[in-house]
Amino acid sequence: MSSDANPAIEVTDLACSYDEKLVLDGVSFRVRPAEIFFVIGGSGCGKTTLLRNMIGLNTPVRGEVRFNGRSFTSADSKSRREMLRTFGMLFQSGALWTSLTLGENIALPLEEYTSLPADEIRSIAAFKLAQVGLEGYEEHYPSELSGGMRKRAGLARALALDPGIVFFDEPSASLDPVTARNLDRLIVQVRDTFGTTIVVVSHDVDSIFGIADRIVMLDRDKRGIIAEGKPSEVARNSDNPRVVEFLTRRGIGAE
């Protein structure tokens, strides 16, 4: 496993819980640089929980998360902030700041972390919006956009600081198939252009086979990973019926 020597993300023996309820236990995996890595699994198996614990929105009960070799879970608040700067995150709902325009939404991270003049920040914001196909929408408020446009604007914001790692929480949920495929294309484009490491949480089988380099599948009962590898190999080689069923979409009534 020589290519795993310098993983971009390394999760070791992570356990996550809400109050008393243990959701994930003993989760370990590695994400290689510039890889599109999918975390898949049925609803409620803990995908969002894993993501939130990885980026510090929740505190794991046990285990370690390392980014580019540096521990995130045991970092102090200063170096944590430094590392957060190198992440982008696209939330399930987009999570744009509703009181700011799209332009201001994208400008905010730039204002926080750079000392660029206001004029330049505005140009960058317009450029980032254009990259996701939203040119000319700088002055619009999030409430004036459709769900797909909000997700794309959220992506533009996540990419504002040219992060090395971007997290996506169910990017294609609640989007129509065409918009979802366009978003997939954008994700691949970002990776190919900037060499960004990408972690996607999803249960969209088309996306998984379309763009994922590797996947891990979480399971609700096992509270951990039940399959790992390239999507096609996992679908072919797994002897776990749940994995196969998920990846071949054979749920109720599709024998």
Binding site: L57, S93, R157
Partner: protein, 375 residues
């Protein structure tokens, strides 16, 4: 033992065939019409088996499934064989699902023992106290960073909030404090008239407004108007993952959202309190002139013999603290809100309750404190 089926509704006919109870269902079974509940007839001497037929059923929905399920459950618990082979497949399948859903139905977890309730309540209270301390601590750290010039204040946000909580609250503060002045004048006059000292109404109102009512009325108004709005704004931002989006960028929600809002309130509350003082005095003056025949000039001159800058200062100090209380409670409740619509509503309610409670407590503390230091 043959009952005639009702032509309009669902019917159940029970017949004993030796020791076998045969139940024939008929008619339309609809949830919205009254359908029979099991057993719906007097059960005969314990039968050895029950056979259910539904040949005469014209229409059916969940109501029939429930009836079948209950019949089967009754048979199961009394150890009687239940023969449903004559039923159509779909009915059998659905009643089977209904039976298994009865078995796995979630147990009622709301009835807990006293000890468990006390334990849970204690833990919740501790979590609340911890949340409060953490919030106040973060606010303190971010404020000191701001004061030392290590971090910038978002001025555009602050000014916007100042306009919303200050300038736009003028009409309601005007009305309330004018009326408070009027009310104080009437009640004061009742007592003072006995001593022929109506003129002292001006002193009464002057002192009451500047030391107490001006700040108090402004604070109570803003806790309902602005504190609740803060809780709702921040609570819905939380529900929409907007707060998480700030945190993942390493931006402290306290610095970004709380400080501008609290700052705006701390700056505007004293101004509003002083404005409320003026309106209250004006209200008293109006009553004095119209009902007590005291000319405004006399009223004013008399008031100035008692009220001085110190009284105004007392009001202003209180107003600053009340502003802090209203702002912090609103923001805290917003940040603590559950991530749904009901949670945001509760956040608004508890923001108002918290701030009014704390305002009254602080006012009492101030009363004692100013008495002791003789202010």
């Amino acid at each position: 033992m043959q009952a005639t089926p009702e032509p309009t509704g669902a019917s159940v006919t029970a017949r004993t065939d030796g020791s076998v109870l045969e139940i024939r269902l008929g008619g339309p079974w609809r949830l919205e019409s009254r359908t029979p509940r099991w057993p719906s007839f007097t059960l005969p001497e314990k039968p050895t088996a029950v056979r259910i037929r539904a040949d005469a059923v014209s229409q059916w929905d969940t109501s029939l499934v429930v009836y079948l399920g209950e019949a089967q459950q009754w048979c199961g618990t009394s150890g009687i064989d239940c023969d449903i082979q004559a039923l159509p497949d779909k009915m059998r399948a659905l009643s089977g699902q209904f039976l298994s859903s009865l078995r796995t139905r979630g147990r009622d977890e709301h009835s807990r023992s006293f000890v468990v309730e006390v334990g849970l309540a204690t833990r919740e209270t501790m979590a609340h106290v911890r949340g409060l301390l953490q919030f106040v601590g973060e606010f303190w750290i971010d404020t000191t960073r701001l004061v030392r010039g290590r971090a910038g204040l978002r001025w555009s946000d602050t000014v916007g909030e100042m306009q919303k909580c200050g300038a736009m609250a003028l009409p309601i503060v005007s009305l309330i404090s004018f009326l408070v002045g009027v009310t104080l004048a009437y009640s004061g006059a009742i007592v003072l008239k006995r001593f022929g000292g109506e003129i002292w109404v001006s002193d009464l109102i002057g002192v009451a407004m500047t030391r107490e009512m001006g700040a108090l009325m402004a604070a109570v108004t803003l806790s309902g108007r602005t504190g609740a709005a803060y809780a709702v704004e921040i609570g819905s931002m939380k529900a929409n993952e907007e707060i998480d989006a700030l945190s993942t960028l390493g931006i402290s929600p306290v610095r970004f959202l709380v400080i501008p809002r609290v700052f705006a309130l701390v700056l505007m509350m004293p101004l509003l309190a002083m404005y409320a003082n003026c309106l209250g005095v004006l209200g008293g003056m109006a009553v004095a002139y119209t009902t007590l025949d005291i000319p405004p000039t006399a009223y004013w001159v008399e008031m100035l013999t008692i009220v001085d800058l110190q009284d105004v200062l007392v009001g202003v100090i209180k107003a600053v603290v009340f502003g802090l209380i209203v702002g912090l409670s609103g923001c805290l409740r917003g940040l603590q809100s559950e991530r749904d619509a009901a949670g945001v509503g509760n956040a608004a309610t508890s923001a108002v309750v918290t701030s009014i409670l704390l305002i009254i407590v602080a006012d009492a503390v101030f009363a004692v404190l100013f008495h002791v230091i003789g202010l």
